[in-house]
Symmetry: C2
Subunit: 150 residues, 2 copies
DNA sequence: AGTGAAATGACCCGAGA
DNA sequence: TCTCGGGTCATTTCACT
């Protein structure tokens, strides 16, 4: 599937998507054509999902992270589907995972401050199939990376 | 600080960093020069941290997410600094937050499977100032977004 | 799978409103 | 701050190895 060159391309583009094909080619001791074709292949085959700009949450007033743990008392396929669809549409929810634990879901929510989290929770309480179990406030971010180990 | 045009540029680049300045200019009914200058300003002033390729974790054998909750029994500045430095260097740890809760830290760990998480935990156990409190296995990902609400 | 070259198009920087 | 125009450089394709 992937050879050493592909992995190196992925590693470099995960760190900096603005690298030019020429720069990548130099780093890999190749010309631009094979690098170009490999990138297109990695995109087409789904190794690269997307290229994005990472915005500093603090600078745009979304510096507070809160984890929201919710449980689903009536655990049906329909409830699961409906809830997950709603969550995917909530812009404050950056991440959501279905857990094998005491609570069913964990949501990572990005807000301006605790006051804004309070109003988020109120709107969240309208969703009938889940119950908020607990909220955990983040004191500070230690690490945030989008770079998958290869 | 930021006007409506800046916010629209940030929103678009968060969704797709491969948009050309020309495409952005068309979307905003401007010419390329002001768009170019605004982007440079947003980068220089720290609104845009980075441009990255998002790699599909499943495709490269890192499809299993596990949350690792750890506590720090001896809570000193030195222990905090040392631990956070170690964590930032661990490639399996994608995210780490200092919490205001029952446990002191939550780590989001990306591994191939539970077997690999087991070996991660063993190496983690060598770190003297923390104690693994619990591990929560993810059944499936519901949402993962890097797009901050503007 | 790779090279090298050539056309197309994007980026970037002036001058000017 | 914006528009316009042009020089420079990157991307993309193609013929060949």
């Amino acid at each position: 599937m992937l050879d050493e060159t592909d992995l190196r391309i992925l590693a470099l583009l995960q760190q900096n998507a603005k690298l030019t094909i020429k720069e990548l080619a130099e780093a890999l001791h190749l010309t631009t054509s094979p690098v170009f074709e490999r990138i297109k292949r990695l995109e087409k085959e789904g190794y690269i999902n997307n290229y994005v700009a990472l915005v500093n949450p603090e600078k745009v007033g979304r510096g507070q992270v809160v984890f929201c743990n919710v449980s689903m008392p009536v655990y049906t396929t329909e409830n699961i589907e409906t809830f997950e669809k709603i969550v995917r549409q909530m812009p404050q929810v950056m991440e959501c995972y279905h857990l094998a634990g005491m609570v069913d879901y964990q949501l990572k929510v990005l807000v301006k401050d605790i006051k804004e989290y309070d109003s988020f929770l109120k709107s969240f309480a309208e969703i009938p199939m889940v119950k908020v179990h607990s909220s955990i406030v983040v004191l500070h971010d230690v690490k945030y990376s989008t770079e998958v180990q290869l």
